[in-house]
Amino acid sequence: MIEPVVTHDVAGYLLGALDPVEREAFEAHLPGCAECRADLDSMHPVADALAQAVPQRSPSADLRRRVLAAAPAATGAPRSAEPAGRVPTWLPLAASIALTVAVGGYAVRLQSRVTDLEVRLADAVQRASAADSLMADARRTAFEAQSAMAVLAAPDVARIDLRGQVAAPNARARALWSRDRGMVFTVSNLPALPGGRVYQVWVVTAVGAPLSAGLLMPDASGGGSVYFATPADIPPPVALAVTIEPAGGVPAPTGAQYLVGTPTPL
């Protein structure tokens, strides 16, 4: 399919995402194009909405003093900008936000090292997206996208594909693993769990016993995506496995293996 040629790139202009040559061309084009001017006007609030769609936090109180000290005239007594004792409601979001920051920075620096991985991630992301649409939870999808983005951009990202074992020959899973940023685990076709049982994901390293990454509760179709944070100090995995275990999980694997996989050389 031929990609449409976008000559009226209002959205790109508004986001500041045009290359210099494109921007000049657009700015030359704009005065003569009523349609683009109308588009620009109508989309302008979107850019400002994006500016406000971030978790709200307060700077140190000292900043107010510094800023106002430089104002043209002396200022009145400090006024509190928000009620005291307010719960920092951004806190639950901090983890997900922290995982997305610097993705772009890494994107640029690591381009030459991770080009292949990005294609694979796009594939994994699409699979995750398809599974999630069944679950109709857009926020979880968004969170996983952020986590997946961070894992994608990690310099040490590795892919581990898992194959179904005797207990579940049709099951498949893919893990994108970064030692620093965690693991995105996407699974499909796992059999329905009997009552009181749960799937548990294990990280097998070259030293010591398998470590539990966490629990997995697939949806009705046996699919799902889970983001696991992983401790930064664990050795690189030589394999991942999924076993069936008593509800709540266990410290070491006891049940049958449903999925096993080893890292794909990159």
């Binding site: 976008v6 790139d9 959205a11 790109g12 508004l14 986001l15 500041g16 995402a17 045009l18 290359d19 989309m43 302008h44 609030p45 979107v46 400002d48 909405a49 994006l50 500016a51 406000q52 769609a53 971030v54 978790p55 709200q56 936090r57 700077p59 140190s60 900043l63 107010r64 800023v67 106002l68 430089a70 043209p72 005239a73 009145g76 900008a81 997900s96 936000i97 922290a98 995982l99 920051v101 610097a102 993705v103 772009g104 920075g105 990005e118 294609v119 992301v125 699409q126 926020r139 979880r140 969170f143 996983e144 996208a145 620093d180 940023r181 965690g182 509760m217 889970v226 696991f228 930064a232």
Partner: protein
């Protein structure tokens, strides 16, 4: 449609608060320091939060806020109301300055490592209570909802452009996709968000 409902409470800057901002700016230009304090108190939190989202460094985010207000103090007398709301003007300045710093940081050889403590807890997505994520300033949260409701790859493109300052061609290179695909995705996403905002005003 849930997207429209989610964004329905968004009001960029209410007309009366825009008027208060313009008045504060006029008084500031006339040497009334209370005008400066008013502007700071009304806008610093949004500006700081935006800069922090882009830079993820509290000190640098505070520097951005300080730079923005210092410019306002210098240019108060030259502000043209035809340029639009004062708040939007401040946010444009904050974003531009934050992205300048981000790009300067990228051009240095060593990137900064992410803070591991943020990733400390295991998160099993099925168990996460999404409502806990939505509790911050209500209107911002609703806009964020709309953003999060976008298809994943559209949202990824918008975030890389707006908060990471990448051009469309850089995004295309990063994702190894044709530039036209990225442009289409961004245009579609921006149109969706715009339509949601329009519903708000209806």
């Amino acid at each position: 449609m849930w997207l429209v409902a989610a964004i329905a409470a968004f009001r960029p800057d209410a007309p009366e608060s825009q008027e208060r901002d313009r008045d504060a700016l006029r008084r500031l230009a006339a040497g009334d320091g209370a005008g400066a304090a008013e502007l700071y108190d009304r806008h610093h939190r949004l500006l700081y939060s935006l800069a922090l989202r882009i830079l993820s460094d509290e000190g640098e985010a505070e520097d951005v806020v300080q730079d923005v207000f210092l410019q306002v103090w210098r240019q108060a007398s030259r502000y043209d109301p035809a340029r639009g709301a004062v708040g939007a003007w401040l946010r444009v300045m904050a974003r531009t300055r934050a992205l300048d710093r981000l790009r300067a940081r990228r051009s240095r050889p060593e990137g900064r490592a992410l803070d591991d403590e943020h990733a400390a807890a295991n998160v099993v997505s099925q168990d996460r209570d999404a409502s806990a994520v939505l509790a911050s300033a209500e209107q911002a949260a609703r806009v964020r909802d709309a953003l999060e409701g976008l298809p994943m790859l559209q949202r990824l493109a918008i975030e890389l452009a707006y908060y990471e300052g990448l051009s469309q061609s850089q995004i295309a290179a990063h994702l190894e996709e044709p530039l036209g695909t990225v442009k289409t995705r961004i245009r579609t996403a921006m149109s969706t968000l715009r339509d949601a905002l329009r519903e708000t005003g209806a």
